[in-house]
Symmetry: C2
Subunit: 269 residues, 2 copies
């Protein structure tokens, strides 16, 4: 079988009590524990696979509550409220009875309406004009993505030289390519190196504590985007007293904003 | 007693089962039901008043799951995970057994660290140089805020003339003035008129479905800001298939970013 590593990583088995059993994936390992994006995608998948699901994800917030140990975990997704065409979900991931992650999701049936883009895609060279990084990835999960940095790549020299701006732009897609869906977009929303590393050229300890993903797309639209590149852009707004926030966007090659995403990240400095 | 309307609105009574009893406030009424910002502040207050609370809010996400009827409600706040200096909360608001709102909060003990501003305050005239609106407020909650619009005020003529940009900037504070705290900042995060009204000059039906608030401040810092004005800025990123998202910032008069906030809003168009 040629199953993609991403599909293996987010696979969940439904239990008799309607919770799900999953397992961390070595393919998406980070320096310590799993890549946060894959954990978020696993949590959303508990909603996507739930028999009570109505509609498609519009908003998803995930909170990283504690370290995820290599091994099995359970996911509990509960539809807290079901309306005519919308649904609100509360999700929790646990290992050995301890909560590792809390999340909420909002799903809806979407209809054609008046639509407009306001945050348009910046003018950048196309994906084939941007070189792949030459250095070897430090973590396993980085090998699962093809990243072509336009600006704001990871510093090559950690000399604590401070930049005035933390903006990163890159073309990115799954490696090997895989058709986009809500789970993979969720994982991609967390693809950025910590803004404080870009800004300070110092590898201080960091950890995302909360991430929100807004989807400006639906399944039909994603199918049309296929396995194309996304332009991913992220920038911090403020670093203060141990936490910074990041605002980020993911556009498809046609320049449509598929995802607006934000996160707040702990740092030690 | 000279208690502020905001304090009356967010007051909660602890019940024997550690849930809280609250009541909607006519002072913060919207066209239908309460102002979403006050509902969010009530939900956060269940964490702020909880005897198990550790630290101060850093991230808060609230999901509006159904209409809030005038009258009493219960709030259930549960510390899903308590670490050494951080805590993760899951919150639910109910009326007659039905879930109206789900929320998560992340609280932490914050320490002095290297800090930096990146999204700096735009150059705007000071609050005293900006006139108050002349027209009478349409909703009760609007009377609870002093709003001085610099740009992007509510259209005065609803002629469906489309603007290319939905950005709003205003100076705002509680009316009468009240010292800022986490609850009032949460309410202020929702102070913006729907971006689609600004963009289209058409009063289409709208409703926020999810809002996230990141706090770049702590109690001591807020005390120093007191009851001063905040510069509030909001802009939509994309309107598509019934939902748009908004990115917003609140700075104090000293130009410090106190809040970065985002929301996704349903619209019918």
């Amino acid at each position: 079988m040629n199953e993609h590593a991403f599909d293996r990583a987010i696979a969940l088995a439904m239990q008799p009590d309607a919770s799900f059993l999953g397992h961390t994936s070595a393919d998406y390992g980070n320096m310590v524990g799993p890549y946060g994006g894959i954990t978020a995608a696993q949590a959303l998948n508990a909603v996507l696979l739930h028999p009570a699901l109505q509609g498609e994800p519009v908003a998803f917030t995930v909170n990283y509550a504690g370290p995820v140990a290599d091994g099995p975990f359970t996911l509990h997704a509960r539809p807290a409220r079901t309306n005519r065409s919308t649904q609100h979900w509360v999700i929790e991931m646990r290992q050995e009875g301890q909560t590792l992650l809390t999340a909420t999701a909002f799903t809806a049936l979407r209809r054609e309406t008046w639509s407009a883009a306001e945050h348009t895609m910046p003018a950048v060279p196309g994906p084939q004009e941007v070189a792949l990084p030459g250095d070897a990835p430090r973590s396993e999960w980085i090998k699962r993505y093809e990243m072509r940095f336009i600006k704001g790549a990871l510093p090559t020299v950690w000399d604590a030289s401070e930049a005035s701006i933390s903006r990163t732009q890159l073309w990115v897609r799954d490696s090997p390519p895989r058709s986009l869906d809500f789970a993979s977009l969720t994982a991609l929303a967390d693809v950025f190196f910590p803004r404080i590393w870009t800004r300070r050229a110092t590898r201080v300890p960091v950890g995302t504590v909360s991430m929100t993903v807004y989807f400006h797309t639906d399944a039909a639209h994603l199918k049309a985007t296929g396995s194309g590149y996304l332009l991913a852009q992220a920038q911090a707004q403020t670093f203060r007293k141990g936490y910074f926030d990041q605002a980020a966007q993911l556009w498809n090659e046609a320049g449509e904003l598929l995802v607006a995403t934000h996160q707040v990240v702990y740092y030690k400095a």
